[in-house]
Subunit: 472 residues, 2 copies
Amino acid sequence: MLGRFLTYFISWTILGASSLAIAQSTELLTKSELKQIIKLRDSALKSNLGYDILESLTTEVGARMAGTPQDTKAVNWAVAKFKELGFDKVWKEPVTFDTWIRGVETAEVTSPYPQSLHITALGGSVATAKGGVTESVVHFETLDQLKAAKESDVKGKIVFISNKMERTKTGKGYGAAVVVRRNGAIEASKKGAIAVLIRSIGTDSHRMPHTGMMAYSDEVKKIPAAALSNPDADQLERIFKRTKDVSIKLNISSHSGPKFTSYNVIGEITGSESPEEVIIMGGHLDSWDLGTGAVDDGAGVGITMAAAKLIKDSGIKHRRSIRVILWAAEEQGLIGAFAYADAHKNHLKQHIVGAESDFGAGKVYQFSSLVTDKDLPFIDQMEKVFAPLGIARGNNKATPGPDLIPLYQIGMPVFRLSQDGTDYFDLHHTDDDTIDKVDPEAISQNVAAYVVYSLMTAQYKGGLVRPKQAKK
Amino acid sequence: MLGRFLTYFISWTILGASSLAIAQSTELLTKSELKQIIKLRDSALKSNLGYDILESLTTEVGARMAGTPQDTKAVNWAVAKFKELGFDKVWKEPVTFDTWIRGVETAEVTSPYPQSLHITALGGSVATAKGGVTESVVHFETLDQLKAAKESDVKGKIVFISNKMERTKTGKGYGAAVVVRRNGAIEASKKGAIAVLIRSIGTDSHRMPHTGMMAYSDEVKKIPAAALSNPDADQLERIFKRTKDVSIKLNISSHSGPKFTSYNVIGEITGSESPEEVIIMGGHLDSWDLGTGAVDDGAGVGITMAAAKLIKDSGIKHRRSIRVILWAAEEQGLIGAFAYADAHKNHLKQHIVGAESDFGAGKVYQFSSLVTDKDLPFIDQMEKVFAPLGIARGNNKATPGPDLIPLYQIGMPVFRLSQDGTDYFDLHHTDDDTIDKVDPEAISQNVAAYVVYSLMTAQYKGGLVRPKQAKK
């Protein structure tokens, strides 16, 4: 493997240098190669395979939180599914991590207007005292308000942060809001709070709270953290409009569990000329425990498995191998992704490029690249093949999908196929993440997009080097 | 009271006979009366009072299932709110009934694909054996399929009925589907089933099951009955597509409780000429226990209280009294309504006409009457005043809102202000029945509509007699 790697590296360096900023036409895909890909793209649009795989996973396994028995079932499902689909190589790579176990999670206003609230513990949250705690609540509209508060106003209380997430197509509202989920417990604990309740990081208005990972700091006490559904956060705000004297009983029994070994499950279809060079795609196999993980990220699993399978069945010879990685324990902090990057760091250059499908089940509306000028003529080719799918060319500053961050950090080029995420955060990390929300046509469009991405990059004779300034 | 009643009855009979089929112009509202009403209608459109009352009830009381401590809080809230609003008379009338207490309600597929399901017990359901039962499931798409099944295919099993409700503006899909909820347990028990799981009677696709009353028969054993959320029913159907060999563990601990006394809470604004004659409107005060009863029926409470209050504050003299009845224990079977009809049956003729707001928070799009030909010129007047609200004239075959059925059955005329119910059954009887789903503008339009209905009927000098053929 090392020999081939060096050969690849040298030939790429020479090519890159001699061509200056223009890909040689001999590197580009031929008309007949493009014709094959376009034909397969269009037949992918008519295939239900991606949706069928998604249905199989969400029905036969369902929820599959990392570290639970359902996680093991998902791994077994994935190995069996890759084999059933006829992938050339199927294997799994171990990923070991600490687990977190959800337990009781209830909240109720005890005063002034007794009523139950819908909450869910945030991933990693410690428990309340057994049987729960009843305490005064102090309300902040933002994390900054909490940071600015006097300790005497917070000490011994339950902190409620009602910050709202904005709905956007790109998902940028999530980045802005999720800091409350991540750091709410730390900031509240710094002021002596005994627990934190946040408004769900989500854009829906249904009584389904959104879970997701939260962080602790070694410098302050770990306090329980939970999310209220959006309607329940609204309700608590209405109560606070009437009086500041509000008490809540909070009962959370989640706790850490034993170490667990799950697996990145990998299926590959072998390239015809440079099989050691791989095009990466995939989604994460784990989900949260509340829904059945249809949009997060059964969709990514179904889309990328189906794309590779359709390529395999097409009989089109592709120079490089196409590797579908179903990542383990993404939700718990990209644990499978870091394990993979660590295990493969010595073969990084064989990882030509990666893209991950992990933003729901909306259609792809844009593709972004991250290549040096020399490869832009190839991107021009891609643009033409993507266009009939309704996919526009974005910029040349693609950022990695979550599970590609560790590989990206050590130098792998990435593509991004941007999905319309307008409704994604209605469902994300809730009970409601189920397949009834998925449009089969949108899944087929995604499959076609991943066929184009993976098959074109597998055929391209150029090296797909990342611009230097992007390497960090 | 009886003297006045007789006077009214005789004068009405004479008028009705002497005018044949045409209302005398002296009975109709005068131009100046109409002008006052139109002015109030338009200012009602700008008032938030209906929404504010709804917010007060759903925030300060929240869920208020008949027979629970929250029921008592709702009664106290209603008495206080009527008084705060300055109604001329405020009183409550007792309603005593058997209670039903919700308990544990869980379901999980144990085989072939273990996973939890979201269910809620149907109102009135008995419990499973303590700790739950695990049994094979038999699937029927409709109640008729179950009725036609062989006993040997059902005996000892859990019956799953997956019949889907149709979404309509008028709500007619509910009538067609709800028979499964009402009679599912009876029909399943006839064949020896041990429990019944139905697809929720609802049009949403969220993981929130819809509760609602179900019936038992004395002729067959009472078996537990619960509803799956629509996505969970879909999931179970997908599992059944893969195999007929499905087992579920069902654990329900709901049971009947002690007798309870609640109250119909009544507020009245007194008429200037015939105060003993009353125009009835209202909504039901109780709700199911899952949501906060915003669309079912906090909206009706807010709309009708606000309409009467705006009439009171307008200073417009109205001949008849306007009585707002907040009905008790509607969800448990119109218990407050029957109690009221029984208590007032000897003063029926003083109940000039009734309308109930109990179909959510959508705008009114149509009004229907139920009068003899003689009063049609008055309905023509109403049509003109309703029209600018976007409310069209319907037919002259109005049927009563649920709580008016008992009064209707003994002869009271009714109006119907039909609301757009397209989305109503997304929320009906679920956790998700919360005020965030309510459009304040739609509430104001409803308030304006009830101002028109109640003030015009309070002013009309005619008798508003029901056509004979409608009296049953």
